[in-house]
Every structure is written in C-alpha cells, then in structure tokens.
Amino acid sequence: MVKKIEKDYSRFRSIVRGKIKKELRKYITRGELIGKVGRNLVSIPIPQIQIPHFRNGNNPGGGVGQGPGDPGDPVDGGEPGAQPGAGDMPGEHLVEVDVSLDELAKILGEELALPNIKPKGSRTIQADKEKYTGIARSGPESLRHFKRTYREALKRSIAMGIYDAENPVVTPVRDDKRYRSWKVKEIPQNNAVIVYMMDVSGSMGDEQKEIVRIEAFWIDTWLRSQYKRIECRYIVHDAVAREVDQHTFYHVKESGGTKISSALQLCREIVERDFNPVEWNIYPFHFSDGDNWGSEDTRRCIELLENNIFPVSNIFCYGQVKSAYGSGQFKKDLDEHFGREDGRIITSEIRDREGIYDSIREFLGKGK
C-alpha cells in the first residue's frame, strides 16, 4: 500500500530540490559538502524551508531549567563558543536535508544545462524502457483508461442516485477520469575511468588544492550519474609523477620543480596497462597552476597529448588554478597550439572558488 505521507514527502523533496537548484552556485563553491558524503548521501543545509512565522527573536535568550549547579555555570555542557550550525547571518534557519548523489548530479545537470554524455565504444547500449505500471488521476487524454474511468463514473452516478437502469447512460466528469501512468527505466551500460592529475609542486597552495578538490568532487558526481561504473585514478607530480590513492591526492604537499609531462606519461602508461579504450570512456583531468619546467617540457606534453592521450580519451581537460606564484603559461601554450576550438581538449581557468561553477560548465558542457 502506498502511504499517504509518501506524496507529501516527495513534494517536500521536490521543494528541497528546487531550493538546492536555486542556490547551487553557493553549494558548489563550498567545500564542506564533500566532508558530509556518507552512504552516497550528502547533508545539505537548506535555508528557510520552514514556514516563517512572527516569532520572538532570541536576543536575550533564556529560560527555566532544572538541576544542580551555581549561577554562572553553563547549562548546555558544551564547549564555549560551540554554536552549532553557525550561518553568516544571525537567526538563520537551516534544515539539514539528505540528498543522494544521484539527485545532486541531476540537479547539477539541470542547472548548468549539462548535456548528457554520449558515450563512445561498442558497448554503449542504452536501454530505455517505459513501463505502464500505474493509474493516475490526471494525464493526457490519449492515455485515458476507459474501463477505470467508466467504473468511477458508474460508482459516482450510483452513489449520487442518478443512475437509471432503464436508461443506463453514464457520463464521466473530470473527477472520474483515470489515466495510465508510466515509469521510464534506463539501463546505462558504460564504463568510465577518470584520471585525475594534479601538480603538487611548491607553488600549489592549500587553497588551490581545495579548489581542485571541490571541482573534482562535482565532476565525479556528474560522471558517476552518467556511467554505471566509474573508476578513478589519481596522479600527483612535481618533477616526477607517481600514482597515489584518493586521500593522498588531496593531502600531499610536495615541493620542487614541475614537469607536467611526467604526469601525462604516467597517465598514458596507466591507461595502456589497465583500460582498453574500446571498452572504457577515458577522462584525463589535469590541474595545475600553469607553471611548467621550460618550453622543452611543454613541447613534450603536447606530443604526448597529440599522440598518446587524445586518441584514447573522450576528452582531455586541463584546469588551471590561479595562484600567486604560477605564471599561467601552460594554458596559454596549450590554447596556442590546439586553438580554442579543438574538440579533443578543454582548458579552463579557475580564478577562485567562485570560478568553480563556470569551470565545471566549461568542462562538462560539451557532452563528451
């Protein structure tokens, strides 16, 4: 039996969804969401989902309690200053709502107008199945369920006492109408791998890494919604590259020179070893502050991209995070060489947290 509350509940969820959509930019730029991922759910604080009332503000808040203690003793037992859920405005009302990552991706897709990805490869069987599973009280006339509608109309006319057995004309009114309703089932059957590469040389500060982290989270969320199976590989590099796990990827701090080619070389090796491009959709993402060790290495990078990476990848993405020390030369070099219109590469500059939103759109907006 479908419970009555389910309808109110899903209505509530859709309002939440709308709220998230409206404030998506804000959520995207906040790192804290990532910390709240658990069991594929994220807790998102939603402002003002509660119905506003004329209420007393809590300025000189106080009340009556019961128990031991002397005047001046704290009654909450908490740490001083441990005000939970501190918003930037006093008296802001936040409700924490759990949202599944799938739903988040959907919202992201709708709001950024991201096209669905067209996967490549032979195993791109995208099965859409529509099943007529239920009955609804509204719908297009073409789906009207005659028998049910008739039955309702009959019931009503008998109840109203207007049914005449001699002249059994039953006229349905709007309330009587019943329609078939359906559900769409999708069975995506594609695999994808994301290779995240990050420059961790001395010039990449904590803020730059945080930006990469946030951006990677959203890219991950989106791609996960598009593919059934996703693998992630992480590479950090300064003058040499090495493969690391996710935790290290975000937390490691190295210093030294920068040879981007080392990362691309390692990426190429990983892909060649583990991921057959016929079966896998491959997404290499590289983030750095744009500094590279001389034009010689940059030339080497371009060769690697041209000959080894582009041919196997859906798209190669380069995100350049602005830092105080970085020259930002690498993006310029790439753009000069490939041009802005090359379909195999997307470069994006991320100035600060605010830029993450637009950068995601640049990366994912092509539907590749």
Partner: protein, 509 residues
Amino acid sequence: MSSTRGIKGPSRSSQHLHDEIARIAEQIRGYAKSYGLDPFDTSFELIDHDELNEVAAYGGFPTRYPHWRFGMHYEELEKGYSFGLQKIYELVINNDPCTAYLMKSNSLVDQKLVIAHVYGHSDFFKNSFWFAKTNRKMLDQMANHGTRLRRYVEKFGESVVEDFLDACMSVENLIDYHSMYTPKKRKSAEPIEDLERDKEVKKIRSKEYMDRFMNPPEFVQKQRKAIEDQLARKRKLPEEPEKDVLLFLLDYAPLDNWQRDVLAIVRDEAYYFAPQALTKIMNEGWASYWHSRIMTEKVLTDAEVVDYAEHHAGTMGTQPGVLNPYKLGIELYRDIEDRWNKGRFGPDWDRCDDMQRRRNWDMKLGLGRKKIFEIRRVHNDITFIDEFLTKEFCEEQKMFTYRHNPQTNRLEIADREFEKVKEQLLFRLTNMSYPVIRVDDGNFRNRGELKLTHEHAGLDLEAREARDTLKNLFRIWRRPVHIETQSEGEGKLLSFDGERQSEETIGGE
C-alpha cells in the same frame, strides 16, 4: 461514514488488537475508573513505526489535508527512529471516542504503561475546561478538511493551492487563544462600501419649492457631518485592535471562496490544537501521575518493575536547559496532593515562619486527591504555575533561570531565586511564547492597507522571518501590509507592498 475512511473504528480495530492488549486495556480502564478518572471511550490501535510516524507527522490525523510540511516532519521522525535517536511510544487523539495509537514494537510493560498514560490524557481531554470547546468529532472534521483541500488541488492546481496554504500557515499562530472561552459580541461585519453608499443625508420628502423649508440647509449640513463622523469611526476597522488576525482576514481580506475556505480550515485546526499547547505541563503531568500510580499500585508484576522504572525514569529525565513538562507536571501534582493532604495551605500556613512547625505541619485533612481533580478541571499551565508553584517546590526541584552570556557564548545559570524562576516560566508560557500581535487597522493610511501591531514585551521579532511572514500576509490581503514593532529599542514599521520590503523608524514613545 466515508469521511472517516482510513481510520479504523473500534469494531475493526479489535480485529487488529492483540487480545492481550484488549484485555490489558480493559483492566487498566477499570483501575483508572476506580481512582475516579473519567476517560472517553478509548480505542487502541497497534501500528508499526512507519505508520505511527506517518500519523504523528499529520498531528495525529491520518486523513489530514496534504501538505509538504507533514512530509518534512515525517522525514525527521523516520530518521530519528531509524538512527535510534527517538521513538514515539504512543499518540492519543482528543476525540470522542478517543483514539490512541500504540507502537507495535513496544514491550508488554511499555504497552501497559502507555495505556495507563493514555487513559490519563483521555480523562484530561474530557474533563478539562480548556478542552470543552474543542471539536470532539475532529477525526471526521479533519477528514472533511482533507477532502475539501484535495478538491481544490484538483480544481485549481497543486502549486496554486499550496502557495496559498503556505501563506495561511505562515500566520496560523495569529489567533486569540482565549477567544474560544469568551465569545465576543462582534458586530456583524459591515463592509465599508455599504456605509459609503448610505452617505447621502436622508431628506424629508417634499415638493421642490418647499425643500428649502422642510430640509433647511443648516440641518442637512449637520446631518451630513454626523454621518461623516460616524463613517470615520466605522472606517476604523477593526474598531478595537483584534487579536484573532485570522478571523479578521476571513472577514475582510479579498479572497476567493476556496481561499477563504482554506484559511478557515487552517484557523479551525489552529484552534483545535491550541488547548493542547495551553495545557502541556498539566496534561502530561496528569497522564504521568496516573500511569505512575496505576502501574505501581495495581498493574506491575514483580518481574516488570525494573523495566517500568527504567522507562518511567527516561520519561521524567531532565536535561539541563530544557524544562521537561512531564517532570514539572507530575511533581507539581504530587506536591499539591501532599500539601492539601496535610493542610499546608491557607492563611495560617502562609503566615507561619517557624521552620520547625512548618516541617511537621500535618493537619491530616486528606483533601489532596480532591484538589488535584479540581485543578485538572479548571486550570491551564499559566494559572497552574501561577497559583501552585511555591518557593519550597522550586528549591526542592532545583529550578533555575538561565540566560545567554555573550562573552562566553553559552547558556549559563542566572538565578535560583523563586520570584525570578516563576516570572521567567510564566513569561515563556504567555501566548505560547509567541509574540502578541493584533490587527490595528484594516484601512491603514486610508488606502485599505493592513497594519498589525506587535505588543513588544522585551523581545524583538525575529527580523528575517518577520519580513517573510509579511510577504505571505500580502498574498492574503493583496494590498500593502505593515507591522509596527520595535527593534533594539526603536519603534519600527516594517512593510511589504508587493514588491519591496521597507522599514521605517517611527516616533519613539
């Protein structure tokens, strides 16, 4: 009756009910009556946690109208239950017959306790003066409300109805909690336009050439003035500031019929629930007092004592900074019973300041039981506290006031003085700790705008919510709306004109 669809009546529920529970309920009912309790006929429904949470989300009425707020509440309850943070044992509905929902998974001792508790509530609902005016067929009424709202949703669309419902709910607390008990002699609402039409001075009919004599100009002038004056007075709408803002809106807001009905439904339900908030301490205290007596004196077997004690202690537990109405209520009833048994009341008692004598004071009057039954009939939380909270009780119960210390940013114990505790407690209970707001003028600035006045009692309005509430109010009134209040000691007029929020400082008092 089709309107009670979804509620299983007593006859059907007995099928669901374990025979065991039915037997226990009957037995406990007998005990309750032997103590003098007089509950409604009460039917018990055993349901699972998700059903119970659903019913609870609807405020006890499974057939209530649809709204996302209930869905939100449901999520909270379900989450709380599944993470083991909270559990509802029982839910009891003020209705005749009374309906109580019990959680199926309760242990048998829990069920006994809860059933005894329910009979306490049921007696309170039936006999407290404050519930006398509530609709005892509310299960039916709520179902009717639900049907009407669903019909509007079908006719006008979900979001249209929902938007309006949101707006109504936003002002649902603007009712006059006491108007139920003091029916007001409101003059029948005369729309202003009718008066405007009658503005013409009634002349004595006469031939044209005689008119000057029959209706001398001075006379006509005077009459006109009188009418104008009367009109001016009438134009002041309401004539007296009106605390039942919802009623005023129902009477004067330019609403469509369905909107008026929705607003009326919201108001109706607000009044139905109001007495439960007015008597929270008394009602929970009463039910707890009786479950405790019935269980310990009659029902418990030796094997059950420990489980019972644990459950009872859990219910009575106090957390610092939170006042537990169950605890305060039960202790006050016990204190009163003890005092009236021993004759510790009246002028002699009050005048006596010999501590030794006071301690041993016992006139063996045995009036305690009678007294608490009388109290549950006539008092509400405010008068209960005001009249029966004593200094000794405060000390014994270790009551204190607390306040927020901005330096440490935490709540700290402020005082243990009896007067302060009582004052603070009463302050919190006044108007359900909602601000007191009245309709001041329904024709503000002579432009048909609505002006409310907030009776400032030390606390400012929560500014952000107040602005949003004004916006909602505008959706009902459809003309600019204002509220006069104070903010940080300054008189303010907050306004919303349909597009812009504004705030102006008005003359200090």
